[in-house]
Amino acid sequence: MSSSSSAMSDLFFTSDLACERDFRVLYSSLNFSVKAGDLWHIKGRNGAGKTTLLRQLAGLHSVDTGQVLYPNEATKVIYVGHKLGLKEQLTAEENLSWLAGLNGFSTKLQRYAALEQVGLSGYEENAVEQLSAGQKRRVALARLHLCKAEVWLLDEPFTSLDQQGIVDEQDWLNQHTLAGGAVIMTSHQDISLPQVKVLDLSLYAGSSLGDLSREGGSST
């Protein structure tokens, strides 16, 4: 499937995307398109370029070779990286308030509801610096419920979550993709969702991936 013919139905696609760091090619000729309902699992060893790829997709890392194209400019993207982007001195609710304010508008009621969804009811008015690492990640993830974004770019979203948290988050990923959203995530954990086909994208250092057809590059 060529990316140009399906451009209209894609949320976004890459063409010949490449990344080079310190004269080392991390990946090259990366062609893939992300459609509504897709869940892409980026795999690879440490240093394979998973985070860099996510940042290029988000537009945080410069793209020197190739392209990342969003056909619809209004496509909303949420990126949750290693650094959570939370202000330690502010409360969980205040953090959500400004983070959501970047993409639109939210009421206090909605923010409380989003925090309840990630299991943080009762911690709304606690300063983030008093929360545990797992709770901080939950605050950052609460934004996914608050801003209705089509594309979620998640870098190691299971880090420091407890067992129940991981189960809950897989459930959110499931719901989001079934509702027509798309998720691109990195994780060293296996993801198993009952109703969603997980598409694998494996990065091997220096490998040229060529055209990643949805059939060829995917597995369930």
């Binding site: 945080l60 990126y79 650094k83 502010l90 983070l99 304010g101």
Partner: protein, 219 residues
Amino acid sequence: MIGFMLTIIRRDLLLVARQPAEMINPLVFFVLVIAMFPLGISPEASILSQVAAGVIWVAAMLATLLSLELLFKLDHDDGSLEQLLLAPYPSWCLVLSKVFVHWLVSGLPLILISPFIAMMLFLPDHAIPTLMLSLLLGTPTLSLLGAIGAALVTGVRGGGMLLTLLILPLYVPVIIFGASSVAAAAQGMPVDGYMALLAAMLVFALMITPWAAGSALKL
């Protein structure tokens, strides 16, 4: 776009309210540096009143520089800068909002306290309105120009010294016209020309620097 800028301004003001030291430190620095001059030079009123204009302006510049390093650094370190840059708005909105808060927190208090500092240095009373007006026009320019340097050294370890080296040359015209205006007022000469030039520099900085610093942040 306005909503985006208000979100940043609200957030940064809230952060300052939680950590008032950020606001008080430059002010204390400003007062302490100026208090050193009578000790170092001479407590004579005739000598102090001659150097007062320059001393106040240089101290204001140093106080601004002191707080500039953290303008984007804290946001960079905790990852919130990424989120701000990802928002679907031009990055100059982000820079302008952050500089506005920076000036409100580090520039405005200096202007408000400057009449007392002027009295301490025996600056003639009739020069005080000029001093305040020149600081009002000049300190936002200092914050705006500094934003370019702050954006460039974001993510550089120990960027404070580098920031000073980058930015000080850009501050030269502001210092010259700021300090001369006060000196001219102290001698009873007209200051309209100085004020016009300071205002022109502010307008120029307003047009150029948010865009330049925004581009530097994306590097």
